[in-house]
């Protein structure tokens, strides 16, 4: 095949992929025709290859300057923007030049390659199936006991191997999802360890509190985090059966959202709603933190609190239900609905 074959010709030329097309006597050749006048996009490049060469060279020079500038910028410890600009200009220009070289100055064809069928002959297929079936028959049919024993052994290993792989990863959940570190008499302290006095907060104020005396690790904070809101200045009853739970309008709820466990960190003061920023569940602090909106399925558990002799807030008891999102072993809907009636 010569370049003229594909220049301006309508049909794509066949590419010699092996000795057949080149002829047995001739020396094999790897030369391909370069340009195609056929494609309107390539006509200019085919007519004036020197122009394209110039443009490619220009981009290569810009690319060289860019990567040199990147090196210099690195040595000079320049700003991230300078590093990025030099790197981007360098690599993009080299890449653009190379792509243009490939597109306009290299053999473009169109060339044709035949698809060699993937499928084997019917005979080959049958031979493979026969080998599988007949040889498996030797194992399965004639030596049933041996096969069975081997399968049993491998199967048992497969099962017992899963145990150390999974089981070594961590302890069983046990009662960890049911417990927090709040208990009767726990002193409420803020993130710095300071206890909360009855005069500390204004109406509308909000504070995240933890039980004092437990060392502060992320794992403990994650379950113990409790949000303390002062809703009013007189005692508040959020629902029936919670008469002494919110003295002087101080009310404490678990800060772990019952939807997916994000901290319920926003407080809409006017509407008295605790809002979870993750998926916008809203809990009314006055009515036992029942979800008013959003995907949360349960109210936030309420922590019963009281003032001790010196006027500091303490927990009357721990939470009466697991805090946070739902899980399979969780037994009840929560105390909210049960005691509300």
């Amino acid at each position: 095949m010569t370049p003229e074959d594909s220049l301006g010709a309508g049909d794509p030329g066949a590419l010699a992929t092996d000795g057949h097309a080149a002829g047995d006597g001739e020396r094999p050749t790897g030369v391909l025709p370069v340009a195609s006048m056929d494609d309107p996009h390539l006509q200019d490049a085919a007519r004036y290859p020197r122009r394209v060469e110039g443009i490619v060279a220009l981009f290569f020079v810009l690319g060289i300057l860019g990567v040199c500038a990147f090196g210099a910028a690195y040595v000079e410890n320049a700003d991230t923007q300078v590093l990025a600009a030099s790197l981007a200009v360098g690599l993009f220009c080299l890449g653009f030049g190379l792509t243009a070289w490939g597109k306009y100055l290299m053999p473009q064809g169109p060339f044709v390659e035949a698809r060699h069928p993937l499928a084997s002959s019917k005979r080959d297929r049958e031979a493979m199936a026969a080998a599988l079936v007949e040889r498996t028959g030797v194992v399965v049919k004639r030596r049933k006991m041996l096969g069975g024993l081997l399968a049993t052994g491998m199967g048992i290993f497969g099962i017992v191997a899963v145990f150390p792989l999974l089981r070594s990863l961590g302890p069983k959940p046990g009662s960890s999802l049911f417990r927090t570190n709040w208990k009767k008499g726990s002193l409420l302290v803020d993130a710095t360890g300071k206890p909360v006095h009855r005069t500390d907060m204004q109406v509308g104020g909000l504070l995240t509190v933890f039980p004092k005396g437990t060392e502060t690790t992320a794992t403990k904070e994650a379950v113990d985090q409790t949000v303390l809101v002062r809703v009013q200045s007189t005692p508040l009853v959020t629902m029936k059966g919670r008469t002494d739970w919110a003295p002087d309008g101080y009310v404490a709820y678990s800060k772990v959202c019952t939807h997916l466990g994000c901290p319920v960190g926003l407080y809409e003061q006017e509407l008295e709603l605790l809002v979870c920023p993750c998926h916008q569940s809203m809990f009314n602090v006055r009515d036992g933190a029942f979800p008013q909106f959003g995907p949360a399925p349960r109210p936030l558990p309420q922590l019963p609190i009281y003032f001790d002799g010196t006027g500091y807030l303490r927990a009357r008891a721990g939470y009466d239900q697991p805090v946070g999102p739902g899980f399979w072993e969780r037994t009840t809907q929560g105390n909210g609905k049960a005691s509300a009636t």
Partner: protein
Amino acid sequence: MAMTQRRPRTRREAQRAQGPFGRVQRLVDELDDRVGIAKGGRVFLDKIFPDHWSFMLGEIALYSFVVLLATGVFLTLYYVPSATIVVYHGVYKPLDGQKMSEAYRSSITLSFSVRAGLLMRQMHHWAADIFIGSIVVHMARIFFTGAFRKPRELNWTIGIALLSLAILNGFLGYSLPDDLISGTGIRIAYSILLSIPFVGSYLGSFLFGGAYPGTVILERFYIIHVLILPLVIMGLIGAHLGLLVRQKHTQFPGRGRTEDNVVGSPMYPTFMAKTTGFLLMVTGITGALGGWAQINPIWQFGPYQPPKISYAVQPDWYMGFLDGALRIMPSWEWTAWGHTIPWEVVLPALVFPGLVFTLCGAWPGLERKFTKDYALHNLLDRPRDRPKRTAAGAAMLSLLFTVFAASSTDVLASYFNVSLNSVLWFFRIAVILVPIVTGLITWRICIELQHLPGAVQRKRAMVVSRTADGEYVAVQAAPRPGDVHVELAPEPVPVRIDLEPEPAATVVTPEPGIRRVSR
């Protein structure tokens, strides 16, 4: 082939024996003696790549993965996957004296104190977003043009596995810096694990090594993110490309293109030059984004502490469809017989993505079954010629986009100054209506386009000329080669397929329009 002739005596004789191609010939000979590369190598150099812009989408994915590997190796040299609490005393003054995990401190240090560290970190993050984005667009191209049809169903399935692994590894990756947003993401992932019936609490406890958050999760995410998943992804990419070479490319119908050939430019040098240039350009653009478009500014979020959270918490874009689904789901928790199933988590976070991916994976089989088209296909469809498939794809994409948009309910409510409740209900209705309407409209547009006159012809230029009298006349310009593509007419779906016995593999002269498959 072993060389059996006598040893050459002089150097010149040796050179002459090497033939006209000198040292290269010798290298080829030596290699061919040992591993037999010449025949296959020549075929490989001649491998034909059909040209179409949409075939570059997969290349973007591949090259952003290369960028991910290169920048990721850099990051592993400085990142410390440890939850140990330390106090920061570094160059970034607003965080001075704050308690934080070693993971967060090392992420801040590599951003501010390691040369080119911030560039590498932001390039890595951008490359991850581009990687997953280009996979999605690439798959859309494959879907709408029917490139997944027999014999390429397996490669489509590998692609779906790659997409899901890429999303998973993206999530693990942006969880590593242990900033306030990523920590919240891990908390949500833990709660989703917990929601799985029967085994949720066990999975959570095993993965986190005890109660949330524990101290080992970053180490575990780290080894999965930098070793296990990259290995799996690399293996699957290898299989993906291996299958592509074995099955050869699909191509759009056109002059000289048949089911039995591939028309395009050869691997060496043309395609190699173009694609290497493209790799450099993708890297360059990622570099520009990494330095000029700030992404994930972890120093602004602060270190993760379980009781803290910021406003407008959103994951990276590819997790948005899950977040949106969680937001618009009504609270349907079931409690009975001493057990709880939090459907408001299980359905949107587990069942929904499971269904989407299963449906995508099963599509080639479903389509085969319903169209009874069991033929081998190497020529691509125009989307308009397969209205039902195109409508289904558009409906799926619009569903995912609506759910994705629902992950910004709070931001939309605040921006448009409407109630969050209205935005929520808007999305709850839209998520059902939008896919149906989009599907129907797409189907209709496809049908209309099919009946458009001159639909398969290239538009001809109009030449406007002025006559001596001052009158303007528009005349169609002379036709150019390739203006009329008769082969672009759609192929009917065959009713019955008989595979004829294949002739021995030879170079076949292309006969336009003739297919080996008869019906």
